[in-house]
Symmetry: C2
Subunit: 479 residues, 2 copies
C-alpha cells in the first residue's frame, strides 16, 4: 500500500491550495506536459482524448444543425487584420508575428491567427454574391495563438485548440437566431455530456468580443467558487460586412450587407471538467465524455483463470460499445486503483479468485466509491446502469453546488462582503455604466460575468453607484 | 440544356491541358479557394469533407494499431530545430519565422512547424526513462508550413494538413517493423478506400527525409503518367536519439538509446484522388470516401408526389447509413446532373413522374454513366451494390492504368525514349551512385521514385553509367 499512498499524496488537497491541486491533477493524470516554448503546452494522450470526444460529439451536433467544416490559413496579413477597427485594437497586442518566410524577409508581416473573423470575412466577400449564396454556416477546428503573459494549463495558454464558427446571413433576425442557437447548443452539450450546468446570458459592452454588437456567454462555476467563461457566441450585425464589403443582391435585386456571427468553445472546457468534478484523489470524468469508461483490474492475476476472465469482461464491454481497458501490468492492485482514480476513469471493475468462483465481479464508481456486486453475465447492463446513475448524480451535484454558490447583494456593503466571503456568483443590479464595472473590479477583483437571460429586479438601484438600475448582472471572480 | 453545357464547358479537356483541367476541377467542384496570403489555400466544405473522411477512417485504423493522439505546439525554438544537423539543413531554408510575440521582439526566433520531429524528440527525452515507458507511438493531426515558391492546390502549398506519427522503440528491429507497418497501412488504405494502387519501396539516399536512416514511400501514378509521392515512413535509427539524448534504462539496468520512426500522409491525397479518377466532366469520387455518396434528383419536381418520393428515397438511404442528399433547388435537372458530376458524387438517383407510376427510380453511376432501373423498395441494396461495383471497377481501372504505364529500359537510349515518349514509371537498373541520379534528372527531369520492395535484375548494369547495377529503381517525372 505504501506506493499507492505515495501516488495520491503527490496531489495537494484541494481545500488546502486549489491552484496547486489543479496543477498536480493535470500533471499526475498525464493530461499535459510543458513544452520548450514558454506558455505553450503539450496535450498528452489522456488530455487530448477528452478533447477528441468533445470534438466528435460537438461536430455531429454541428452537422445536424447545418454547419459545414472548412479550413482557413493559419496566417493573416497585417492589412487584413487592420480592416475592422475594434477588432484589431482587441487582438493586435497579443498576436505572434511572422516576419520571415524561407530565406526572405516578408514585405508585409503576417500574424498567426488569434481568431479568424478577418479571414472568413475576406472569403465571404469573394464568394457571397446573391441571396442564393446565403446563409453561409462555416466552422473550423484548429489551434490559435494569443501571446499570454501568465498561463495555466487548459485555462490560459499561448496556443489552444478550439472550434470557431463564422456565419453570414441575409437578415439581422437570422443572425441573432443563429447566435442564440449556438449558445444553446453549447450549454446543452455541457450539461448533457460534461455534467456542467451553465449560467447563460449576455456580456456587458466592456466584456464583449472585439468588434461584436453583442456577445453571449455560458459561465460555469468551479469548485473554488470562481467562474469560468466556457463558450461564447457573437452577433456582429453588419459591422464586419461594412468593413470588408460583404454584400449580396437580394430578391428585389438590391445590394445589401450580410449579418454575421461567430461562436467558439475551446480546450478550456478541460479545465472546467477538472475543476467542477475533480476531488482529492484526482480527476473525475463524466462517463459520457471519458476516453476510458471502465478499467478492469484483475486481483491476484497470476491465479488460474483470473486474467482470462478479466479480458473476457473487457472484451464483452467493448463489444457492447463501452470504452473499456484492462490493467494487467505487474503493479499492485492498490497502485492500479490509485492510477485509475487519478485519471478519473468512471468505473473500475475488480475481479479476483473469490469473485470468479461466484461468477461475479465488483463495480466501483469513481465519484462515490460505491461498490456494486454484479453477475459477470450482466456486466454490460450493470456497467451502463452505474454509468448513467453516475452521470446524472454528477450533474445534480454540480447543479447543487452552483445553486448554493449564488448570493444576492442589494447594496455595495453586501456586495463586497459576498465577493469576499461567499465564493460563487453574486447577483446584483447594475446601472449600465462601465465606470461601475471598473470600480467594482478595482475594489473587489470581481467582473461582470453576464446579464442573465432571465432578468428580475432584486433592487431598484445600481449596487455600486445607487443610480437607477437597468440590468441584473451575475458578478464573480473569474479564471 | 444550354446552361448545363456551359457548366461543363468551363472545364478544359484533360488531354488538351492536364494542368488547366486540374485547376478547373478543383475550382468548379468548389474544393478550394485561394487566400489572401500567397501560397496558402482555403479548404472549402467539398474539399475539407473528403479530408475529414480520410481522417476518420485512418484514425480508426491507427487506434487499432496502438497509435495514441497528442497535440504539440505549432512553434519550434530555433535552437531545438538546430539539434539534428541533417534535419535542420533540410528544413531551415523553407520555414516561416516568428520574431515578435505580443508587443515584444523575441529573444529567440521560433519557426512555425514544418514537421515536428524535434518537438517529439524533446518530449521523449523528458518522459522516456525506463524500458517500461516504451514504445511510444504518438501521432498528431495538424497543419504544417513550408514556404514554397511555386504552389498548386493540394499538391504543394505553403500550408497543408497532415498527420505525423512519431515513435520511440527499445530496439532497432521494432522501429523497422513499425516503419514498414505504417507504410503498409497507408498503401492498403489507398487501395481499399481511395481505389488507388501504390508502388511501394525505399527512397534512395538522395531522396530520403532529412535526418532519416531509411525512407519508405508509396508512389501513385496520375492520369498524365506523372508520379505522386503519396505517403512516407521513415526509420531514424538512433540518430535523433543521440542528438536529443533520448535514453532509457533497459531490463539489465543499462542505458540505451531509443530507435525512432516517423510517418505521414497529407491533403496531397486529395490531389491523387482528383488526378487518378477525374474525367472531363469533373471529379469522380470513390464511393467509400465520397462525402455525398448519392444525390437524389427529382424530375419535374413540381408534379404531385415527386418531391415527397424523392425525399423518402433520400431518407431511406440515410437511415441505412448511406450519405445521401436531395437536390430540390429550382435549377433544371440537367444543371443538377452537371453539378453533381463536377463534384464527383458517385451515384445519382433520378425519380420522375413515370418512375413514380412504376414504383421505380434510375441509378446513374458517375464513372461510367451506366443506368440501373431499380424498384424503389430495393433502393438501399441496389445503391450499395452499384457503389461496391463502382469502387471495385475504379480500382481495377487504376490498376490497369498503372500496369500499362510501366516500361522497362535496359540502356540509356531506351531510358530517355521511355521518359520522353511513354508517360509513366520507367523501371531501370542503377549502380547506387548519386551522380547517376543527378545526371538522369539533368537530362530528363525524371527522378528516382523508389527502389521497389520486389527487386529483380532486368539488366546487369546501371542504365546511366554502365557500371555494375545494384538496384532496380522506378523512375519517373513527378509532382
Amino acid at each position: 500500500m505504501a506506493e499507492d499512498k505515495k501516488l495520491v499524496e503527490q496531489i495537494t488537497p484541494m481545500d488546502e491550495d486549489f491552484a496547486q491541486w489543479y496543477t498536480d491533477v493535470v500533471r499526475k493524470a498525464e493530461l499535459m506536459e510543458y513544452s520548450s516554448v514558454k506558455g505553450f503546452m503539450i496535450f498528452k494522450p489522456n488530455g487530448y482524448a477528452i478533447w477528441e470526444n468533445i470534438q466528435k460529439i460537438m461536430d455531429d451536433i454541428f452537422k445536424e444543425n447545418g454547419v459545414e467544416n472548412v479550413y482557413m490559413p493559419m496566417l493573416i496579413p497585417e492589412s487584413l487584420l487592420d480592416k475592422e477597427k475594434d477588432h484589431v485594437e482587441g487582438f493586435a497586442p497579443e498576436v505572434a508575428w511572422v516576419t520571415q518566410g524561407g530565406l526572405n524577409e516578408l514585405s508585409e508581416r503576417l500574424c498567426v491567427r488569434p481568431t479568424s473573423e478577418t479571414l472568413f470575412c475576406d472569403l465571404y466577400s469573394n464568394i457571397v454574391n446573391s441571396y442564393r449564396d446565403l446563409p453561409k454556416v462555416y466552422n473550423q477546428w484548429c489551434s490559435v495563438v494569443r501571446w499570454e503573459k501568465t498561463t495555466r494549463p487548459f485555462l490560459r495558454s499561448s496556443e489552444f485548440l478550439w472550434q470557431e464558427g463564422h456565419t453570414a446571413h441575409a437578415t439581422e433576425e437570422e443572425a441573432e437566431e443563429r447566435t442564440i442557437q449556438m449558445l444553446n447548443i453549447y450549454a446543452d452539450f455541457c450539461e448533457k455530456y460534461l455534467a456542467i450546468p451553465m449560467v447563460k446570458g449576455q456580456k456587458t459592452d466592456k466584456e464583449k468580443f472585439a468588434g461584436a454588437k453583442a456577445t453571449y456567454t455560458i459561465e460555469a462555476l468551479m469548485h473554488d467558487g470562481k467562474a469560468l467563461q466556457s463558450g461564447t457566441s457573437h452577433n456582429f450585425g453588419d459591422g464586419f460586412a461594412k468593413a470588408f464589403g460583404i454584400q449580396y443582391t437580394d430578391k428585389n435585386n438590391k445590394l445589401q450587407y450580410v449579418h454575421q456571427t461567430s461562436w467558439g468553445i475551446s480546450t478550456r472546457l478541460l479545465g472546467a471538467i477538472i475543476m467542477v468534478h475533480g476531488d482529492d484523489s484526482g480527476l473525475v470524468l463524466p462517463p459520457r465524455i471519458a476516453p476510458t469508461q471502465v478499467m478492469v483490474v484483475p486481483i491476484q492475476q497470476k491465479k488460474d483463470g483470473i486474467l482470462d476472465k478479466a479480458s473476457e469482461i473487457r472484451d464483452t464491454l467493448k463489444a457492447a460499445g463501452i470504452r473499456a481497458k484492462m490493467d494487467d501490468t505487474d503493479k499492485s492492485p492498490g497502485y492500479k486503483f490509485a492510477e485509475a482514480e487519478i485519471r478519473g476513469i468512471p468505473l473500475r471493475v475488480e475481479i479476483g479468485p473469490r469473485d470468479l468462483e461466484k461468477g461475479t465481479c465488483v463495480i466501483v464508481r469513481r465519484d462515490t466509491r460505491e461498490k456494486t456486486v454484479c453477475n459477470i453475465s450482466d456486466i454490460v447492463s450493470c456497467a451502463n446502469q452505474v454509468m448513467e446513475t453516475m452521470q446524472a448524480d454528477m450533474l445534480q451535484r454540480a447543479k447543487n453546488h452552483l445553486a448554493s454558490h449564488i448570493s444576492d447583494a442589494h447594496n455595495y456593503e453586501e456586495f463586497k462582503d459576498a465577493i469576499e466571503n461567499k465564493p460563487g456568483f453574486v447577483r446584483a443590479m447594475w446601472c449600465g455604466d462601465v465606470a461601475c464595472e471598473e470600480k467594482i473590479k478595482a475594489d473587489t477583483t470581481a467582473t461582470s460575468r453576464c446579464m442573465p437571460f432571465e432578468q428580475e429586479e432584486i433592487a431598484p438601484t445600481c449596487v455600486c453607484c445607487g443610480k437607477p438600475a437597468k440590468k441584473l448582472v451575475f458578478w464573480g471572480k473569474a479564471y
